[in-house]
């Protein structure tokens, strides 16, 4: 069967797998953004605390995904749960690091006038520093998202959702007529999804960057 006929026949399944792939990545990135920004906000003031947060998340990112998933299975079983936890863990480093960098990069004069005007530390972080750091944080989120699309394929091996299933079923059917079609569909699907999200980030950046920073 040629590839176009294969696509036609399996379109609905593929679409569903792609949707699940996108959903699991998006959900994980959202969670990781909430966690990562919070960790960044809590640690940026102290070089030591933020250094620890960054080193730990870097070390976690160094762990191969299959190994991390293996360690999560005894705790969380198979499927979505270990997948999401693993994906969240892997996306922390770029988000934490960019949050810390972003919060620190705010002009000292801006910080001094915030303090001089009587903003509390918390008000300064939430009303001044985070909006100013947002473009940098968003870049971290974008890097994480791109990374997760690839990592999420491995999760199929522990019964996770998404296009990894298509690739693995190609591997399982090695030698059969549709093996290549499946591998191509799965791989290309992941690349296309990643590209689409990357494109969406350009728009998101435009929409969410404070106007005063764009002029």
């Amino acid at each position: 069967m040629d590839f176009s006929r294969y696509l036609e026949r399996r379109w609905d399944d593929l679409l569903e797998q792609a949707a699940q792939h996108a959903a699991v990545v998006a959900l994980s990135v959202l969670l990781a953004t909430a966690i990562g920004v919070l960790v960044g906000v809590l640690t940026w003031r102290s070089a030591r605390a933020s250094g620890v947060a960054i080193s730990v998340s870097a070390a976690l990112l160094t762990i191969p995904s299959l190994a991390l998933l293996a360690l999560l299975i005894p705790l969380l079983g198979l499927g979505w749960a270990p997948t999401i936890v693993a994906l969240v863990v892997y996306s922390l480093l770029p988000i934490i690091r960019n949050t810390v960098t972003g919060l620190r990069s705010v002009d000292l004069a801006v910080l001094e006038s915030a303090r001089g005007m009587g903003l509390t530390g918390r008000q300064t972080v939430w009303r001044v520093q985070l909006p100013l750091a947002w473009p940098i944080i968003l870049t971290g989120v974008r890097v994480s998202t791109q990374m997760l699309f690839a990592i999420a394929t491995i999760a199929a091996y522990v019964a996770g959702p998404g296009l990894g299933n298509e690739i693995l079923s190609g591997l399982a059917g090695l030698g059969s007529a549709n093996a290549l079609n499946k591998a191509i569909a799965g791989t290309a699907g992941v690349v296309l999804l990643a590209l689409a999200f990357d494109f969406a980030f350009v728009g998101l950046r435009r929409v969410t960057t404070p106007r005063g920073l764009r002029v």
Binding site: V110, M117, G118, G212, V215
Partner: protein
């Protein structure tokens, strides 16, 4: 109205052999503009920042309208003290109006009131509210940004303002214009202002009184500009005041107040515009090589008059 009293205020940083500010005692009357002037690193900014507790004093007392600032919650204190710095520090993600409304918002003013207040202040600092309120800081020139900085500091109508070299980063022409506007503003508002600069000429021009500071913020002389120029307390003050102090003093005397002979016909004398000083009169005389200058309102001022202005301390 709020007067400011510094009583034996000292700041000692850990690990430093000497205090950064050493036992400063100083009274600033309500509605008075006092300039702290001194070389960089002399502790003048540190002294100023202790008033709004951006730096906490190690010992001594600072009283604001009779209340010890250490008894006021620091953020609450700062919301009632205007603060202007050289680097301006406008929030780039907020519009001009939002920048000005921030402190009123923190103080719980309602939206309409703080919006109206922002417009009023833009008007006051010479920026058209309609044209500027919705712009962002990066769309403004340095001089315009500093005007907004001043407007923002005035937002909640604080009785006290602290200004740290606010015009230091602007070019000489903009700086002079900002200084003039600021003087006009202060004549109207009568805030109690502590103004820090290392530019002695700026201090002379703006200050009701000047505190000339030495190392560790010790006060070498605290007096009016006229008297510091006429009778510097010691060699340090004299060297800081620089040369040509007599000419600088002339700049403090408005030309309108000079005695002169009535002048009915235009007789070809060089004429000084409104708002000039005795120094400008002298400048015109030298430039034109005449001993007489017409000052607006139709009087003629003589060279002898100018020479006699500074009283009997010629020999200094």
């Amino acid at each position: 109205m709020s007067d400011i009293k510094l009583v034996n205020v000292t700041k000692q940083y850990d690990g430093q052999p000497l205090p950064a500010v050493d036992g400063v005692t100083l009274d600033i009357a309500a509605g008075e503009l006092v300039v702290f002037v001194g070389p960089s690193g002399c502790g003048k900014t540190t002294t100023m920042k202790m008033i709004n507790r951006l730096i906490e004093p190690t010992s001594g007392r600072i009283l604001l309208g009779g209340t010890d600032v250490m008894s006021i919650e620091p953020n609450e204190l700062r919301r009632h003290i205007g603060y202007v710095i050289q680097q301006i520090g406008l929030f780039p993600h907020m519009t001009i109006s939002e920048n000005i409304q921030l402190v009123p918002g923190l103080l719980g003013w309602d939206k309409t009131r703080s919006r109206r207040r922002a417009d009023e202040l833009l008007e006051l600092v010479g920026l058209d509210p309609v044209a500027y309120r919705d712009r962002y800081p990066r769309q403004l020139s340095g001089g315009q940004q500093q005007r907004v900085g001043v407007a923002r500091a005035l937002a909640a109508d604080p009785p006290v303002m602290l200004m740290d070299e606010p015009f230091g980063a602007t070019d000489p022409i903009t700086r002079e214009r900002l200084q003039n506007e600021f003087l006009r503003l202060q004549a109207e508002l009568r805030k109690t202002i502590v103004f820090v600069t290392h530019d002695f000429d700026e201090a002379v021009k703006l200050g009701d009184r000047i505190a000339v500071l030495e190392e560790r913020s010790r006060i070498a002389q605290y007096d009016t500009p006229e008297r510091i120029l006429a009778t510097p307390a010691d060699d340090y003050v004299a060297s800081f005041a620089g040369s040509a102090t007599a000419i600088k003093r002339l700049a403090l005397i408005p030309a309108e107040r000079l005695p002169g002979k009535p002048l009915n016909v235009a007789n070809g004398l060089p004429t000084l515009d409104k708002g000039g000083s005795a120094r400008d009169v002298l400048d015109l005389m030298i430039r034109w090589g005449t001993a007489q200058v017409a000052v607006d309102g139709g009087k003629a001022v003589d060279f002898e008059t100018i020479c006699g202005l500074l009283g009997d301390d010629h020999g200094r």
